[in-house]
Symmetry: C2
Subunit: 214 residues, 2 copies
C-alpha cells in the first residue's frame, strides 16, 4: 500500500489506536465500527475516519473495521515488525527502569547495552546486562548494530554525548535529558521532558481552581 506523508499529530495518535485494538483483539472482538471505537476511545468517529484515511482507510463501509487486520496494519506502519537494537546512556533509576521494561521487547526493541560514567555503577546489572563504562560506547555501537540510544543522563553532558552517538551511527535518540539536542535532520529524536509534563499538570490544576473560585 502506498502511504502519503502524514502529520506528526496523526503519528502521535497511532500508538493509542494500536493499544486499544490490541486489547479488543485480546478480548476476541473481530469487528468494530468507528462509532464503537469512538465511544471506547473518547475521540470523535470523524477523527478516527480521518486518521485512518491517511493510510487508505482500512474500513469497509457499513461493516466496521476488521480488528486483527487493523491491528496488524498499524503495527506495520509503526515499523513494529522490524527489530531495533537499543542502548541506554545513564544507569540511574530511570535508565534502569527503561532497561527493565519487557514490553519494549515485545514490540521489537531489544535492549543491548547500558553505559554510565560512574565507576560505582559499572559492572552492576540491568536485566542481566552489566553496565559498561562510557569509553566502551563507541565501539559497542559499531560492533552490535545499535540504531537507537536512550539518553537518561543530566542535561549538562547530554548534547556532547548525543553528538558522539550520531558520529558512531546511531539513527534515533529517545531523549529524557532536559535539553533540546539540535541534531542533523536525518536523526530521529523523540523528547520526553518529564518536568514539562509536570508543569502542564500544574497549569491545569491552577486553571481548574480559578474556575471554581469564580
Amino acid at each position: 500500500m502506498e502511504e502519503k506523508e502524514i502529520s506528526q499529530a496523526v503519528v502521535s495518535r497511532l500508538p493509542r489506536y494500536f493499544r486499544y485494538l490490541g486489547e479488543l483483539r485480546d478480548q476476541g472482538v473481530e469487528r468494530i465500527s468507528s462509532q464503537e471505537l469512538s465511544r471506547l476511545m473518547k475521540v470523535t468517529a470523524s477523527q478516527i475516519r480521518q486518521d485512518f484515511n491517511n493510510f487508505g482507510g482500512f474500513g469497509q463501509q457499513g461493516y466496521g473495521y476488521n480488528v486483527e487486520f487493523l491491528y496488524q496494519e498499524i503495527a506495520r506502519i509503526l515499523g513494529l515488525n522490524d527489530t531495533h537494537h537499543f542502548i541506554i546512556i545513564g544507569a540511574g533509576n530511570l535508565g534502569r527502569a527503561l532497561g527493565g521494561y519487557l514490553n519494549f521487547e515485545k514490540r521489537g526493541f531489544l535492549f543491548k547495552g547500558i553505559f554510565d560514567q560512574n565507576p560505582d555503577l559499572v559492572g552492576t546489572r540491568v536485566r542481566g546486562i552489566p553496565v559498561m563504562p562510557m569509553e566502551r560506547m563507541e565501539s559497542f555501537i559499531r560492533e552490535n548494530e545499535i540504531d537507537i540510544a536512550v539518553l537518561t543522563i543530566p542535561k549538562a553532558g547530554a548534547v556532547a554525548v548525543a553528538e558522539r552517538l550520531v558520529k558512531n551511527g546511531i539513527k534515533a535518540i529517545w531523549n529524557f535529558a532536559h535539553v533540546d539536542l539540535n541534531l542533523p535532520a536525518n536523526i530521529q529524536v523523540e523528547n520526553v521532558h518529564l518536568s514539562d509534563s509536570l508543569m502542564k499538570l500544574s497549569y491545569n490544576i491552577n486553571r481548574n481552581k480559578e474556575e471554581k473560585d469564580c
Copy 2:
C-alpha cells in the same frame, strides 16, 4: 491580568518557553526579540507572538521581551509559585527515579510519600522517605494535604488505584501506567505513555529509511 481560556497546545509549549527563558536569565540576558527567541528555539517568530498573545502579549513593540518579566509571568501562569504535595504509587525503578528528582522541588512540587504493595520494598527509602504499604495510602492523602499522585504501577491495578486516589481527595494524576484512566472531568490527568513515545520513534526511523530507499 485577565486570561482567556487557552488551548492545551499552547499550554504544552509554555514549559519549553519557560526553560529557554530560564537559561537566558541565568546567562544574564535582559531582553530578547521574538526573532532571536525564534532562532534559538527553532519555532517561527509568529508562533511565539501568537502564543504570547494568549496572555496579553508580554511584549513591547520593537523593543523585545523583558526576559525576567516573561520568565516570572510564565511561572505564574503555570502555577509554579504555588506549592503542591505529591505522592508516588509504585516504588519500582521509575517511581524511585521520579521521587529522586530534585528539580521538581525547585518548581514547587514536594515529594511527600511513596507506596508499594510489594512487602520487600516497604521500608526501603527513596530520598530518605520510607516506602509505605498501600493500606496507608488513603489516610496519608487526607492527613498530608496531598493534591497530586504519580502512578507508576502496571496497567492491571492502575484504574482501581486511581479511583481510590480520587475518592480520597487527589486533584491530579500524573499517569505512567499504560492505560487511560477515565476519571471525572475535574480531575486533571497527564499521561506519559512511554511505549507510545517509543513507537512514534519507530515510525519515524522507518519512514526515514523508506525515503532513502526511494
